[in-house]
C-alpha cells in the first residue's frame, strides 16, 4: 500500500518539479500514439466506408479478419515490423529501426484493425438509405462522407478512443522496434518496464500514473466531442 502512495507522491514530484525527462517521455508517448491513431483512422475509415457502403462480396469474411485483428498480439506485430526494418530486412535501407517512426508504424498496425472494425460496425448502423438521401440532397462525395461520419460519430469516436488506447498502452512492440533509447524512443510504457527491471518501483508507479492521467485527459476530450449535442 505504501508503495502506491510513494508512487503517487513521486509522480506529483516529477510533474511539478518540472523534470524534463518525464515531460519528454510523456510528450513522445502522446505524439507517437496520436500520429499512429491518425494513420489508423485514415486507413480504417476508408476500409470501413468501402465495406459498409459498397457491401462488396466477401464482406463478412473481411469483417471477420478485421475483428480477429482486434486481438492481434502486439509482440507478433513488433516482431514482423522489426524483421522488416532490420538492417538486412526488406526495408532496412530506410534505417527506421529504433526510431520513433518505427514505433508509429507498429502502433498504427496494432490500432488499424481496432479502428476499422469498430468504424465498420458504426457505419453499418446508419440507415442504409441515408447515403442515397444525402447524395440526393446534393452532396458531393466528400460532403456525403462527412455527413455520414457525423451521423455515426458516437461509434466512430468510440473507434478512435479504442484505437488510441490500443496504441498508447502498447509496450511489447514498442520496445522491440523502438529500443527504449533514452531521449529518443523511450515512452511511458517502455520507461515503466525499464524502471521495474531496475527495481525502481516508485519511479515505475510514477510513470504509470502519468500515463493513466494522460490517457484519461485525451479520452475525456474525445468523449466531450462525442457527447456534444449536434448543433448546426
Amino acid at each position: 500500500m505504501e508503495l502506491i502512495w510513494d508512487g503517487i507522491r513521486e509522480a506529483f514530484r516529477l510533474i511539478f518539479t518540472g523534470n524534463g525527462e518525464v515531460y519528454e517521455i510523456a510528450f513522445l508517448s502522446l505524439t507517437v500514439s496520436a500520429v499512429a491513431t491518425g494513420i489508423a483512422l485514415a486507413i480504417g475509415l476508408s476500409i470501413a466506408s468501402f465495406l459498409a457502403f459498397r457491401a462488396p462480396p466477401g464482406r463478412t469474411l473481411a469483417l471477420s479478419f478485421l475483428n480477429s485483428g482486434m486481438a492481434l498480439p502486439p509482440v507478433v506485430v513488433g516482431l514482423v515490423v522489426a524483421v522488416m526494418l532490420w538492417r538486412t530486412g526488406p526495408l532496412g535501407q530506410l534505417h527506421l529501426l529504433y526510431t520513433p517512426t518505427a514505433i508509429i508504424i507498429a502502433q498504427a498496425l496494432i490500432a488499424t484493425p481496432v479502428v476499422t472494425a469498430i468504424s465498420a460496425a458504426a457505419l453499418q448502423g446508419i440507415h442504409p438509405k441515408l447515403r442515397l438521401q444525402v447524395l440526393a440532397l446534393g452532396a458531393s462525395r466528400w460532403q456525403a462522407a462527412w455527413l455520414l461520419f457525423r451521423e455515426a460519430r458516437l461509434g466512430l469516436l468510440a473507434a478512435v478512443m479504442a484505437g488510441f488506447g490500443a496504441a498508447i498502452s502498447e509496450v511489447g512492440a514498442t520496445i522491440m522496434v523502438g529500443g527504449n533509447i533514452k531521449g529518443s524512443t523511450r515512452t511511458l510504457t517502455s520507461g515503466t518496464v525499464l524502471k521495474v527491471s531496475q527495481g525502481d518501483f516508485e519511479g515505475a508507479m510514477a510513470l504509470s500514473f502519468i500515463l493513466l492521467a494522460l490517457i484519461f485527459a485525451v479520452i475525456l476530450l474525445l468523449t466531450i466531442v462525442q457527447q456534444r449535442r449536434q448543433v448546426s
Binding site: 440507415h127 438509405k129 441515408l130 442515397l132 438521401q133 444525402v134 447524395l135 440526393a136 440532397l137 446534393g138 452532396a139 458531393s140 460532403q143 455527413l147 457525423r150 451521423e151 449536434q230 448543433v231 448546426s232
Partner: protein
C-alpha cells in the same frame, strides 16, 4: 382533354429514353419513354416490386441505367451528375433526417449547395411555415413523430426550390389522418411552384387526386401513361385493369349541395352524389362498374332508389369470363360490369342505346385541382 398527354408540346424537364436497368443480368426496369413536365405531377402507380423505387433512383441519378438515356431539359445527361442532382430533390418513404435540429435539416441541402447564410435562413423559415412545423424548428430530428418527420423531409426538399421533385411513396408509412393532412399541404405547396414532380404511390386515391398524368408500372415495365381518367377508364391490358381497378372517372364541377346531396355537372350530364363538396368545387366523379345497372332505352325506368338515370350508347363490349365489361358513352366515358346472361337478355351490341342507372351513394367524389 388535357393538353398534357405527352404530345411533346411542352419541353419536358426530366425524361427517360429506352432505359433498361439490369440487376444480376436480368432487367428490372424497362422504360421506352417517360417525361415529366414543369408544373405538372406524374403519378406512378404499381404493385410492390414493380420497379417503382428503381425508377425514382434512375431519374434522381442515384443509379445509372444499364442502357438508355436520361434527359434533362431535353438534353442527354453527360458526366457531372452532381450539378444535375443539385437541380432536383428526392423524398423517400422514410424521412431519413440527419441527427441534428429540424431547422438544420431543412437547411442541409442549401448548405451543401453553398447557398448564402441569409438566404438559407429565409427559405428554411418559409418552408417550415408552409408545412406547419415552424414550432418544431429547434427540436432534434430524432424526437419527431412519423408525420412530423416526413413534413421536415418534404420541407427540406422543397426549400431547395428544385426543378424536379421525386417522391418515392412519401406517405406510405403514415397513419390515415397524418397522410390526409400532409397530402393537402403538399398539394398547396406544389401549386406555388413550377416543379416537375414524380410521385410514386400504391394509393389510387392519392394518384387520382395529385396526378395530372398517371403511369402504371407493372413487372418493371411502364404499361400505360395518360390522364388518370383515361388510364382508369381504358386500361390497355388486363394486368393494368386488374391493378388500377376498372372505374368510371370523369371530371366535373359541383353545381349545388343540399341535404348532403350534391349535383355535379359531368360533361353536361347531371349526376347526383352523396357528398359534402361545396358548389363550384372541381371534382373527379368515380363510379365502380358493378354499381351501374343497364336497362333498355325504350323502357320508362321503373321507379327505384337509384337517383341517377343517364342515357348512353354502348361503345364497346369486352367479355371476361362470366362477366361483360360494357363501355358506354354518356357524354363522358362510363363502364358497366354485367353478367353474360344480362348481356344476352338485353341483346347489347356496340351502338345499342341504354339507360345507365346508379345510386347517389355509389358515386365517390375526389377533389381535383384543375391546373392552368
Amino acid at each position: 382533354m388535357s393538353h398534357w398527354t405527352g404530345s411533346g408540346q411542352a419541353q419536358a424537364k426530366l425524361g427517360l429514353r429506352d432505359v433498361v436497368v439490369e440487376r444480376g443480368g436480368s432487367p428490372i426496369l424497362t422504360v421506352s419513354s417517360l417525361d415529366v413536365f414543369p408544373g405538372k405531377l406524374l403519378a406512378v402507380v404499381g404493385p410492390n416490386g414493380a420497379g417503382k423505387s428503381t425508377l425514382i433512383h434512375t431519374m434522381a441519378l442515384l443509379e445509372a441505367p444499364t442502357r438508355g438515356q436520361t434527359l434533362f431539359d431535353g438534353q442527354p445527361i453527360r458526366g457531372g451528375l452532381l450539378a444535375y442532382r443539385r437541380r432536383m430533390a428526392v423524398v423517400f418513404q422514410e424521412p431519413l433526417l440527419l441527427d441534428t435540429s429540424v431547422e438544420a435539416n431543412v437547411r442541409s441541402g442549401l448548405s451543401l449547395r453553398g447557398v448564402p447564410h441569409a438566404e438559407r435562413e429565409r427559405r428554411a423559415a418559409l418552408w417550415l411555415e408552409r408545412f406547419g412545423i415552424a414550432g418544431l424548428a429547434r427540436r432534434s430530428g430524432r424526437t419527431l413523430s412519423g408525420g412530423e418527420a416526413q413534413r421536415v423531409s418534404l420541407a427540406r426538399a422543397l426549400a431547395l426550390e428544385p426543378e424536379a421533385l421525386l417522391l418515392d411513396e412519401p406517405f406510405a408509412a403514415l397513419d390515415a389522418p397524418s397522410r390526409d393532412a400532409l397530402v393537402d399541404d403538399l398539394e398547396r405547396a406544389l401549386a406555388l411552384t413550377n416543379t416537375a414532380t414524380v410521385f410514386v404511390t400504391h394509393d389510387r386515391a392519392e394518384a387520382l387526386r395529385l396526378g395530372d398524368r398517371l403511369a402504371v408500372l407493372i413487372g418493371g415495365r411502364v404499361r400505360q401513361v395518360g390522364t388518370p381518367q383515361d388510364v382508369f377508364a381504358m386500361p390497355v391490358d388486363e394486368e393494368v385493369a386488374a391493378f388500377v381497378g376498372i372505374e368510371t372517372i370523369a371530371p366535373g364541377r359541383v353545381l349545388s349541395l343540399a341535404g348532403g346531396l350534391a349535383v355535379v355537372d359531368v360533361a353536361g350530364q347531371l349526376v347526383e352524389a352523396v357528398a359534402a363538396h361545396e358548389p363550384g368545387a372541381d371534382v373527379l366523379v368515380c363510379l365502380r362498374p358493378e354499381d351501374v345497372i343497364l336497362s333498355p332505352a325504350s323502357d320508362h325506368p321503373s321507379p327505384t332508389s337509384a337517383r341517377n338515370h343517364l342515357p348512353a350508347v354502348v361503345s364497346r363490349i369486352l367479355s371476361t369470363g362470366p362477366h361483360a365489361r360494357v363501355q358506354l358513352d354518356a357524354g363522358f366515358s362510363m363502364v358497366a360490369l354485367i353478367t353474360k346472361q344480362s348481356l344476352d337478355d338485353l341483346a347489347l351490341a356496340p351502338g345499342s342505346r341504354v339507360v345507365a342507372s346508379f345510386k347517389a351513394t355509389a358515386v365517390h367524389l375526389i377533389p381535383h385541382r384543375v391546373r392552368t
